[in-house]
Amino acid sequence: MDLSFVILVEILYAVASLVLISAGLAVVFGMMKVINLAHGEFMMMGGYVTITAVGLGVNVFVAMLVIAPLIVGLIGLVVERLVIRHLYGRLVDTMLATWGLSLVFIGLATMIFGNTTTGISTPIPGFAVGAYQINGYNFFIIVVSVLLVAGMYAVLRGTRAGLIARGAMQRADMAAALGYSPDRIYMATFFCGSALSGLAGAVLAPLVGLVPTSGGAYIAKAFITVIAGGPALIAGLVSSAASFGVVSQVFSFAVSPVIGEVALLVAAVILLRAMPQGITARLFKGKL
């Protein structure tokens, strides 16, 4: 009984962390069709911003939830103005440019922070469930990603800004004809996407040691999740994160962590074979 609860929490946590890792990319790649190979580095920067801010005496939750997204969002804004905006619609060029960017960010982070692993300890203590101890921070991550999904849904569905953004992504010319500036909308959306990546990196930072190359560990999972999710932004994100999270954790528990990782990739291959356009191209059609 205790064990099944622990397993349930771990599965929820795995799903939540996939949602978190992929949310920023879902906006930048899923909505804007910008293949951002520097996504992992945006997360890495979120982590470093948090650690630096905490080192300067800022409350850890403020650092994670406010400062990191804001600063990484601003960095994203600069990147968009200088690089990305010249490349909208040119897939291969954006890939090359963002890959180059990721190398630049890794280099800069190495110059500033050095190459040793750094980190902060988790701000929430662990607690006992019957005979088991579990990491209290897992619940925090679950809560953050639930709020994140709810927030994204509310903004995209409920607000005028969300409507305009979605409209401009589908028909930029039409949005322009109606008097909105697609250029501005793209800029704002990229800011939000980068901020979400920064938030993910910040929230995960206390759990994992951080090195300038940390971003590389997330990039594949983020792309797999977003691509398997398909065209619908939020439904796709949640449904594919849920499938992969469950698969990887069940196999981690039943066999070993190595097989858990392998199972995730095999599941992705099968899923994309069965639904080449992603889950939401077949199921949840027309959802957000």
Partner: protein, 406 residues
């Protein structure tokens, strides 16, 4: 890197403009020591202090009058954590720079990339890093601790402090796999039980399900030969789950790159390990070493296990040259094979003639407030794993890395 390039360009320019003669004359005056280390990229936390150790040891050798009345000159390459560069620079060291000895290599892969080049060209090679054991080659001398040397000491100590049921969490590549087998053997030899073993790819950083699984098995002790940055998160998540005071932890790798200074005291305190070196070793040699290091590098104190092994290796080589009274390859090897020993910051280090590995002290330690407190010292441990398969006296032409049957 830019420095190296400038030196190379400078050298090339000198050769073409000033002609060959003066440089050859200069080369004959110094003993040339090739150094090949990752001073940038993911492994620089290991490589940078090793390069500093090279500088310090060579400065000490030169201050004491050099070797054979000649200065030692370092020819240094930064391999940038790139295996391809190892082969390239190894060729360069042997063919163009014509060095008398090469010290370097960090990962086992980098060692294997250089080893054959050195053997073929007859350049004496020193590899000075804690590794998985089993290399048997008369051209190489190895100064790092092997699994049996370390695990044989650590396992009984950790079991005495916790209990008989052990769970192993290891990195999923050759070091982790082999070390896990040694741990299993010594746990059984000490009357214990291995209740579970899990391997993790090097980029896994999420240990939640593992921590639950370990609790299901309810061991008394977890031994973790985990490697690298992502794996460091295990120790964080373990503490975050509140497990640290419930089940004891020991590791064969944590602290080698000064990881104990990264973990907070709450995360690190009480983790047991066993190495040849700790900054906290209370010996006159270590105190002097730390002072000299700080003087040379502006107050820096980043020396660690591997850097000190490297430092031992350099001095062992120098002692070999002194005793041989020659820099000729065979003479130095023969002198080293007489079982030369030096006393360094990690204690006495003796060359084992049978395997060309080191016989050295292993110190049992416990992490305390970001330091590695030395609890006990086991003097002069032999590399029994490699000795079981390798006898260079009987087979001087051997050239294999053995997988030791355990």
């Amino acid at each position: 890197m830019s420095l190296n390039r400038r030196e190379l360009l400078g050298g090339a320019a000198a050769l073409t403009t000033a002609g060959l003669l003066p440089r050859v004359a200069l080369a004959a005056d110094t003993i040339r020591l090739g150094s090949i280390l990752d001073q940038s990229g993911p492994f620089d936390a290991y490589g940078k202090p090793m390069a500093m150790a090279t500088q310090l040891a060579v400065a000490e050798i030169n201050e004491a009058g050099g070797l054979l009345g000649r200065e030692v000159e370092v020819v240094e390459y930064d391999t940038q954590s790139d295996m391809a560069l190892y082969s390239q620079y190894a060729q360069q060291l042997t063919r163009q720079d014509r060095v008398d000895v090469v010290h370097g290599g960090i990962l086992s892969a980098s060692r294997e990339a250089i080893r054959q080049t050195m053997r073929k060209s007859g350049t004496l090679y020193f590899y000075n890093v804690l590794y998985e054991g089993g290399v048997c080659d008369r051209n190489i001398f190895i100064n790092g601790v092997t699994p049996a040397q370390q695990v044989e000491a650590l396992v009984p100590y950790a079991m005495k402090n916790s209990g008989k049921k052990v769970y192993i969490l290891a990195a999923d590549y050759n070091y982790g796999q082999i070390t896990a087998r040694w741990i299993e053997k010594f746990v059984r030899d000490n009357g214990g039980d291995v209740v579970g073993t899990d391997f993790f790819p090097l980029d896994v950083s999420d240990f939640g399900s593992t921590i639950a699984k370990v609790q299901t098995a309810a061991p008394d002790l977890v031994i973790a030969p985990l490697v690298g940055g992502p794996h460091l998160s295990f120790f964080r998540q373990w503490a975050a789950a509140g497990m640290k005071d419930k089940i004891a932890l020991a590791s064969t790798t944590l602290g080698v790159g000064n990881e104990h200074k990264v973990l907070t005291p709450e995360e690190g305190n009480g983790i047991m390990c066993a190495y040849n070196y700790s900054q906290e070793l209370d010996t006159p040699e270590n105190a002097a070493f730390k002072t000299r290091w700080a003087e040379m590098f502006d107050g820096d104190q980043s020396m660690h296990e591997i850097a000190v092994s490297h430092y031992h290796g350099l001095h062992t080589w120098a002692e070999g040259v002194r005793q041989a009274d020659s820099i000729a390859h065979d003479a130095v090897v023969e002198a080293l094979e007489t079982g030369i020993s030096i006393t360094g910051p990690g204690g006495k280090v003796t060359v084992d003639p049978q395997t060309h590995h080191a016989i050295l002290d292993v110190h049992l330690m416990e992490m305390r407030d970001q330091k590695m407190a030395v609890m006990e010292t086991l003097p002069q441990r032999a590399p029994i794993d490699t000795q079981a398969v390798c006898d260079l006296g009987a087979n001087p032409d051997d050239n294999t890395q053995y997988e030791i049957e355990i």
